[in-house]
Symmetry: C2
Subunit: 189 residues, 2 copies
């Protein structure tokens, strides 16, 4: 037996894995990561423990996969929403309004994870930084080209984070949205 390369190609896209990831996404986002036990994910995704641990050797592996999936999914939605609303600075507030008013909105998954996982999964800060960098880039893409575009995008992104937080605890997102609109307008004036 010669066996040059590893004979065990990891299965990245099996149906069971997808089901686990989708279920974990919904539960982690809705109830929080620590509040959601592995057993719950296993039961609701309809697989067995052996199958689960074949794909995700530990809960932290699942959490990392969840954050990665969340990032790709949220960014795809955000870029699409900005385009749909005109790819202009005025697209930012109505896009976020969609999200805030959507069923099951519970804030930013990365910000939420930051608080509860800092101890058990230190890289969550780096992951969040990457996520917010991509969000900032998407915002910069709808701002008018100018020498200060980078700085303006940073400031708008910071305000967007503030708006997400306030929409999370304020029941109605209206106040957060109008405050954000005011900030965006005065920054670009």
């Amino acid at each position: 037996m010669i066996a040059i390369a590893s004979p065990v190609p990891p299965v990245r896209d099996s149906a069971a894995r997808q089901r686990i990831l989708l279920t974990a996404h919904d539960l982690f986002y809705r109830d929080g990561v620590r509040a959601t036990g592995i057993d719950r994910v296993i039961a609701e995704s309809g697989v067995t423990k052996a199958t689960f641990y074949r794909h995700f050797p530990s809960k932290n592996d699942l959490v990392r996969a969840f954050l990665d999936y969340r990032h790709r999914r949220w960014m795809a939605w955000f870029v699409e929403a900005l385009q749909r609303h005109g790819s202009a600075p005025t697209a930012i507030v109505p896009s976020l309004a969609e999200w805030f008013r959507g069923e099951g909105f519970r804030g930013c998954a990365f910000i939420n994870s930051l608080g509860e996982l800092a101890g058990s999964l230190p890289e969550v800060a780096d992951i969040t930084r990457c996520h917010k960098q991509d969000m900032t880039d998407a915002i910069a893409a709808v701002l008018p080209a100018s020498r200060r575009r980078r700085q303006q995008a940073d400031a708008v992104a910071l305000a967007v984070d503030g708006a997400i937080i306030r929409a999370q605890f304020n029941q109605s997102p209206d106040a957060a949205l109008s405050a954000l609109a005011r900030i965006v307008k005065s920054l670009l004036a």
Copy 2:
């Protein structure tokens, strides 16, 4: 025996209770509420289980006390810092800079709790709303009197929340502080 009022006046300020609350504050803020077990709080505050449960019948009671204490303590610091920096709009950024650069800064305790406790302690949203309302009032107090002061304070407070978040995952708070300064300046222009 006539016994008009309850003969068991709750002890609000015993030494043991203070020690428990202080310890819980440090641990909850540093490691998160869910990540911190009751046993840990008990061990580090040097009391026994019976004593602990005499003062706090459940962990949720301790969490509520923690948030209340945190609110009073943080507000006292914030108001004092704003005064110390001149009680003007320009006092906001340097005050926050103190906090962000301080040892053990780990973001806003209320925002952090929001994500991890929404399921087990629903009132955390109301508590956070009250806290942020008081923070907004403190900000309004250093803004110039005008017809739009309330709205300006709301917008600044929203941006402050964004700055807190970014200072939490960005290692250096400099970018968050300068973006916040830019927002404050343009809002008051």
